[in-house]
Each structure stands twice: as C-alpha cells, then as structure tokens.
Subunit: 182 residues, 2 copies
DNA sequence: ACTAAACCGTGAAGCTGTAGACGGGTCAAT
DNA sequence: ATTGACCCGTCTACAGCTTCACGGTTTAGT
C-alpha cells in the first residue's frame, strides 16, 4: 500500500495531480488509513500506469476515464484525439510561419525553426531530384497518406488553398503501381 | 466610434473577450458615452488588429501587451514563442505516434494521420532516390535548418536518441558546397 | 408616449490541470 | 516529552476566457 506522495514520486507526478484525479474520480485510492490518509493498492498502481500513458497521448481526464471505464476495444476516443492532434499541429505550423515572417529570421541567416517551400525544394534538388521525380513523390504521398500530405504542405508555410491545388494534381497524377495504371 | 459588440462582430470575437481585454488593460476603449458605454476609436481598431494577429501567433495576453508597449523592434518575446512552438509541435508528434501505435491504424490500412520512417523512405525511393541521395539530403537538411531537421525526424516517429545519431552523421557528412569541401 | 427587442455595464461563478499555502498529524531521535 | 522533519487533507489561485444574472439604455415601431 502506497501513500499519496510516494505514489506521486514513483510516477513523476505531483501530489496535487493525484488529489485532482481522486476528486475527478479518475483514480480513487482503494483504502484509507486510520488517520484518513489515502492508501493505494497494487491494482491502483496498474490503473495509474494506464492513466499516465493515456494522458501522455493527450487525452483529457474525462476522456481517459471514458476509455478506462468502457471495456477494451473502445477506440473512438483515441481516434478522435488522433484527428485533433493533426489539427493542432497544423495550427501551430501556421503560427510558426506567421512568426517567422514577422521576424524575417529565415532570410537574415538565423537558423530557422521551420523550413519554407523554397528551402525544401532546394534540399531535394541538392539530393538529385528533378521536377518529374517531385511529381511522382507528391503523387505517392497523396496516395498513401492524404492527411499527412496536407499537414506537410502547411508545414512548409504553403497556404490552405494552394495546398489543396497541389493535392488535387497529385491525386490526378497516375498512381505508381495501382491496378488501374494505364 | 464603435460600441463593444459592433467591434466584436467586426473581428470575429465575442463581447466577453473585449471586456476581458479591457480588464487586463490590453485594449481599453479611448472613450465612454454619456451612459457609460465603451466607445472604440479608429486607433483602438488598429491596435485590436495587431492584438488579434499576435494572439493568433499564440502569444499570451501579457506577452502581447509587452510587445505592443515596447516600441517596435522588441523581438525577444517573438523569438521565445517561436522556439516554444517548435517544442510544442515535437511533443504533439510524439503523442501522434504513441496513439498510432495504440491503434495500430497504420498497419491495418486505415489512412494514417502521420507517416512513419518506412513509408517516408518508400516514397522517396518511388521518386527515384537512392541511399546516397538520401545521405546528401540529410546533410543538407542538417546544414540549413538543424532544429527543423530534428522536428522532422521526430515527426516520422523516430525516437529522440536515434534522431540524435542521424543528425550527427548528417553533420559529419561533407557539406555540399561549403568552402571546406574537400 | 409607450412597448419590446436588442443592447450596455458590472459582478460573480465556472472551466482544466496543476501549484502552492495553511494548519494540523505522524514518527524517529533525543 | 519534546523537537524537527516530513507528511496529510483542504482550500485557494492561475490563464483566458464563457456564461449567467441583474438592472439600466437605446432604438424601432406603433
């Protein structure tokens, strides 16, 4: 049986966090000592391990409780979170390029946090890719992971609309090895 | 002169948000009507436009006030935020791959939100890149934008340590057109 | 002149997840 | 018994808003 601060240290959490989890009925200690201290069992410990990993994946306390309460196989919450992460990343990339433009850090030689379209193309060219190869590459990207392709394009600071256009002609290009290849 | 709700609609904000900005002394109306209504001038409107764009870039209310109060050229807050965004993106990418592994969505044919190392390499190969070309490309990436290179590698689900290793041999590889080229 | 709808101000409370302060309890060594 | 170091439970605060409640004001229409 662990007391609250011991358990907190064991998992690298703060005591407040465990108190909060108790309050929110996410993890309640299975017993109390005579003095009213919370006592956590081995079972509680296992549950906490699961909680920590879901929280690391960015689930809210409520979502975590939902996943743990529904018997295994309830993946809808996870899927929702995965989609949300994609959106968050894209939003941050927009912020990144907004700031980079404000600072004009890129052009002034400071080492950039993010890469823009021109730099990206230049790097691929340095590695020997030509226009045709890049087309093939975009087509492959669109075929295998359209969402990730979109995120990637925004990551280069390409605006929403232009990204759409690129994706459309990527999709239109003949897929590399589909059965429908003319 | 605008009244509070008019201004809010004009900028796609809620009345409450503007009340909050007033309370926090981020944007105070330059006048009041006889009945005590807040009246915003054209100057206020311009300030709000600036505020909105800084907030979109993820600055806190306090940071935004700091940037606006210091006369132009105070870029340290912006730089700090830019670095923070990079860290946030990397953290989200880790979450993304954590979840993808939990769901095993990748292998089961669902279209993935994120791309892993194998898929990435396969796409470059499909576009005609060989091992040597990839080395050149990593070296270029590391040379031009080390931070972004790191973020990129984590984005492929490559763990921190391995990313370090890749970056080290990228840096060691002879840069394409540095003056030191052997 | 009057009424109803839409506005305004102020103030308070709530939200998430965590950090910290407060006063009192426990325990080993003296 | 007492000191000191730690621990406990409870309560409050933080950002950045939103929502609610209360009562006064403006505006349009009759």
């Amino acid at each position: 049986m662990y007391r609250i601060s011991q358990l907190a240290r064991k998992f690298g959490l703060s005591r407040s966090t465990l108190l909060y989890y108790d309050q929110e009925r996410l993890l309640s200690p299975s017993g109390r000592s005579e003095a009213g201290y919370r006592l956590y069992s081995e079972t509680d410990l296992e549950r906490l391990a699961a909680i920590v990993s879901f929280r690391k994946a960015g689930l809210s306390v409520e979502e975590t409780r939902a996943v743990l309460e529904s018997q295994e196989g309830e993946t809808s919450v996870l899927r929702k979170r995965l989609a949300a992460i994609g959106a968050e990343i894209r939003a941050l990339q927009v912020q990144q390029h907004l700031l980079a433009r404000m600072l004009r850090v890129q052009s002034e030689g400071g080492l950039p946090e993010s890469v823009d379209k021109e730099t990206w193309v230049a790097m691929l060219r340095a590695a020997g890719m030509d226009d045709k190869a890049m087309e093939t590459w975009h087509a492959e990207f669109e075929r295998r992971a359209p969402q990730a392709h979109h995120t990637f394009l925004l990551g280069l600071g390409i605006p929403e609309q232009e990204a759409q256009v690129i994706r459309e002609w990527s999709a239109a290009a003949a897929p590399a090895r589909s059965s429908r290849t003319r």
